[in-house]
Symmetry: C2
Subunit: 386 residues, 2 copies
Amino acid sequence: MTLRVGVIGAGQLARMMTPAAVELDIDLRVFAEAAGASASLVTTVVGDHVDAEQVLAFARDVDVITFDHEHVPQTVLARLEADGVAVRPGPAALRHAQDKLVMRRRVAELGLGQPDWAAASDAAGVAAFLAAHGGRAIVKTPRGGYDGHGVRLVTAADQVADWLADDVLAAVGGELLLEEAVDFRRELSQQIARRPSGQTALWPLVASEQVDGVCAEVIAPAPDTTPAVAEQAARIAMTLAERLDVTGVLAVELFETPDGRVLVNELAMRPHNSGHWNVDGTVTGQFEQHLRAVLDLPLGATDPIAPCTVMVNVLGGHDGVEHESDLRAALAAVPEAKVHWYGKTYRPGRKVGHVNVSGDDPAQVRARARQAARLLGSEVVDRLSV
Amino acid sequence: MTLRVGVIGAGQLARMMTPAAVELDIDLRVFAEAAGASASLVTTVVGDHVDAEQVLAFARDVDVITFDHEHVPQTVLARLEADGVAVRPGPAALRHAQDKLVMRRRVAELGLGQPDWAAASDAAGVAAFLAAHGGRAIVKTPRGGYDGHGVRLVTAADQVADWLADDVLAAVGGELLLEEAVDFRRELSQQIARRPSGQTALWPLVASEQVDGVCAEVIAPAPDTTPAVAEQAARIAMTLAERLDVTGVLAVELFETPDGRVLVNELAMRPHNSGHWNVDGTVTGQFEQHLRAVLDLPLGATDPIAPCTVMVNVLGGHDGVEHESDLRAALAAVPEAKVHWYGKTYRPGRKVGHVNVSGDDPAQVRARARQAARLLGSEVVDRLSV
């Protein structure tokens, strides 16, 4: 009997589960919002993921339901569980990736490092937090944000007046999340996989760089990392995976402060952009590991296959004949590049693919990965730090 | 515009082109002999590959036609070319992989090493060759053989009387191929990829072990290889790829003799069992490279990612619930194993999957790969040499 996994959402994360599913002979089925999505090859149903009946009908033919995104409402997830569907990660875990205030409260309870934060539902609350934090704060909508959407650096309460309007506030969770604008040395990401039966596997800690709130580059392992920082990152990820009962892959985005503290920034309970490097850079990539984890199969080794791997996103780029010409140029110039393309049409700044390069020398590997991404038309490479 | 590749044949080789096609956003379409084949995920047409009209209709919607096997008749290939279809490898090259006598004659013309050989169309011819070669010979049907089918070690002409019957002889090419039974030290395989524009890329030379004529294990790189042997193997593969105008991936199966000569055994002009190791063991695996080559895209780097990779085939094994239990056991015991499963039902001795393991120590890597294959139910592991 072939194992069957149903994925809600048909973006590039569902798409990139396909190769691993083919190799392990897992029957992968995808519930897409629309025809022609990135994971169209394995799309079996086009429907609305907030419609419990549609999702339930899809779920009845698979062994386990998992996700390409965090947007399936708790009401729908509860219906699935009530109907006996295996949902991984489960609704109780997933809440912490769906609602940033729920996550902040839980991280506080667990005693893990995080930025100063507060909840506010009016301008006075925002103003008070600003006054207590040097006049600057990161304001986030607790629900519905992604890739920099729903995140603003503000210096005055009126900069989030639109979010404080009653209807908008209700839609994003009833309160806004206010966070200290952390003066970080760099951003890190620690990925871990966890099975229902409890086995966990950590990947090496990586450093990531965002541009306009979108992940642009990941360096693995994170260079010049002290043992204390690596230990904190691993402990945070392990604690969250176990205490939140996460199943599947969890990415914990972190800040490293200049004084060596490690603070929780965001959580994602699915394969994540900060883990794309490990598909080519470690024995078991995040898509294969996610499928193994949600099926409660034994996890694969996460050892790196090279001293360094760098992932650079292609944001923007070209369509059609221009893309083919870009691809030829990139493959010719960087024969060691692993190009991953999502089959998405061009829009300015849209994630359309990424490149991995592995090797011995971090500076050279990074230069080669950036060269390939630049040739593929990425609009962001020249805005990365040197 | 997405690049489109059409594959004739829907076995595991077509199936394993899928992951590379997904990552490079190549539109892969497969012409299958029957529904439910190994490459069913990307099957777009079910038809008969000896029917020129059916193949032509399939070919009109792709940029290039390539193959999962060598069984498409020259008459059909000629029709495709006459119709302007890009066929890679082309019919003139493919003849050498379709007919072993055509191959032997060409290898002789090129002055490359090979076993003593002759053609015979009657018992007297077979008897004469036996008498001249110590009473033993390998007899092959020039056409239609695979995995040990159409190959016999004989000591008397009457052991191939069935093949010498008029109708059988006509079906396999009109003559039989007689070859010296080479007293080889070991079997080697040299893979190379070549683009229509001429670029070539060699993978490291590997050693393979056959059981009952079927590839059972591959060790990469071939251990204890002298520079002279490696140089001969590379030169043979390069010469054949260029002089036969091969496009795509070419596997040259070789004998290494005790006195260090390298002799051509067989050719395959497609991804090949002896190259499965390089999917996990090198930067660019054979399926990705084949797609790049037939599309005339720049070839990828073929550097190994570890000092040693071993591939062990799973021949036989189990179906259904027993398979799932085997899979759990193998993944748990060998977390560094890369399991590739073909989605085929069990038959005794049938190739149903393979395992790759990479690492530093060849003896340990081989033991781990064999352990995983054994747990997956392979019927052949215990018959491999120690």
